[in-house]
């Protein structure tokens, strides 16, 4: 029988070496996996879309093109919040029109998308969406002041640290 020789170590040390190596790899893998699965950062933008002006806030310019068919000329950022779902699976926010917004983390798809549920209490609206890293979903419609509220939820494109 061929005894594996590893750097001339004794059997006890070889076993210890393999155990430590395995433990390190497990920790590294588990840490990466946990970070990948357990961390979700979502930025919520509360926007007032209207035809009052032609002003589009700089932060909203990348999203404005998706609302071209609604004939809005102005997009003003009312609020911007970043939620980190590492510590919990639910977040709440009171919208300017008095409606309660609830965001729930449902889970993760094997292809890397995060499934979240968005609930608007006053509007009696529920949606379930899957977001890949850097993707976003915009929900519009609720009337507010002279325009409509648009809620943009964007999943962070940065990998978890």
């Amino acid at each position: 029988m061929v005894t594996p020789q590893l750097f001339g170590l004794r059997q006890t040390h070889r076993i210890l070496f393999f155990v430590l190596l395995g433990f390190g790899v497990i920790l590294w893998s588990a840490n990466g996996l946990a970070a990948e699965l357990g961390s979700l950062v979502v930025t919520a933008r509360i926007v007032l879309a209207s035809q009052d002006s032609d002003v589009v806030d700089a932060d909203l310019k990348p999203f404005a093109k998706y609302f071209s068919q609604f004939k809005f000329s102005s997009f003003r950022l009312l609020n911007k919040i970043t939620w980190d779902f590492t510590s919990g699976s639910k977040e709440h926010l009171k919208l300017p029109n008095g409606a309660e917004l609830r965001l729930e983390l449902l889970g993760y798809d094997p292809d890397g998308r995060t499934r979240i549920r968005i609930v608007l209490g006053k509007e009696k609206f529920k949606a379930q969406v899957g977001l890949a890293r850097g993707a976003s979903v915009a929900i519009g419609g609720p009337k507010y002041q002279s325009g409509s509220l648009v809620l943009i939820f964007e999943r962070s494109s940065q990998p978890p640290k």
């Binding site: 059997q11 076993i15 393999f18 155990v19 395995g22 433990f23 790899v25 497990i26 893998s29 588990a30 996996l33 999203f63 998706y66 609302f67 068919q69 609604f70 798809d109 094997p110 292809d111 998308r113 499934r115 608007l120 509007e123 009696k124 609206f125 529920k126 949606a127 379930q128 969406v129 899957g130 977001l131 890949a132 890293r133 850097g134 993707a135 976003s136 979903v137 915009a138 929900i139 519009g140 419609g141 609720p142 009337k143 409509s148 943009i152």
Partner: protein, 171 residues
């Protein structure tokens, strides 16, 4: 002259008879040869010794070797049984060690492979069903529920990262 003769005690004579006392100059032997009392003592000791030996001869010859043989047999049996047991224990320890290492390796491999395996299983098991989504879509609107008979429109550009859900509001 005889009264000045050196006397040797009985215990020394007894030990001399048993060969426990050395007599390099033959002093004791000479003393015994010249002293009738010492000769009588020697005779008594030898007679007693022979009597005792003959008395315990049967028992001594039967029991002592038997016990010795039994003890030797037991030791041999223990030795015989112990060697394979130790070999088995050693082999078991080696196997156990390799089994643990294998388990650790399998666990590590499992962790590394699990995401790809899960993705592959998901693809394979949902083949042809409506839940299959194009892998290029970074956002997927799975369900939309609106109450009060209002409608909702979902705009999901294929090339974009943003989906839009527009909810009709009550007049």
């Amino acid at each position: 002259m005889n009264s000045k003769k050196k006397s040797i005690s009985d215990p020394i004579l007894h030990r001399w008879v048993d060969g426990e006392v050395e007599d390099p100059h033959g002093e004791i032997a000479k003393y015994v040869e010249e002293d009738p009392r010492a000769q009588a003592e020697i005779r008594a000791v030898r007679t007693t010794g022979e009597f005792l030996r003959s008395s315990v001869k049967d028992v001594a010859f039967d029991v002592e070797p038997l016990q010795a043989v039994h003890a030797i047999q037991e030791r041999l049996l223990k030795e015989k049984n112990r060697q394979p047991l130790e070999e088995r224990q050693s082999l078991f320890r080696k196997r156990k060690t390799w089994a643990w290492m294998g388990l650790v390796a399998a666990f590590v491999l499992g962790i590394l492979v699990a995401p790809w395996f899960g993705s592959w299983v998901s693809q394979w098991s949902s083949d042809g069903s409506e839940t299959v989504q194009p892998k290029t879509a970074s956002v997927v609107v799975e369900t939309v529920e609106v109450e009060d008979n209002r409608g909702a429109m979902v705009i999901q550009p294929e090339d974009g990262n943003t989906a839009v859900i527009w909810v009709e509001t009550n007049p």
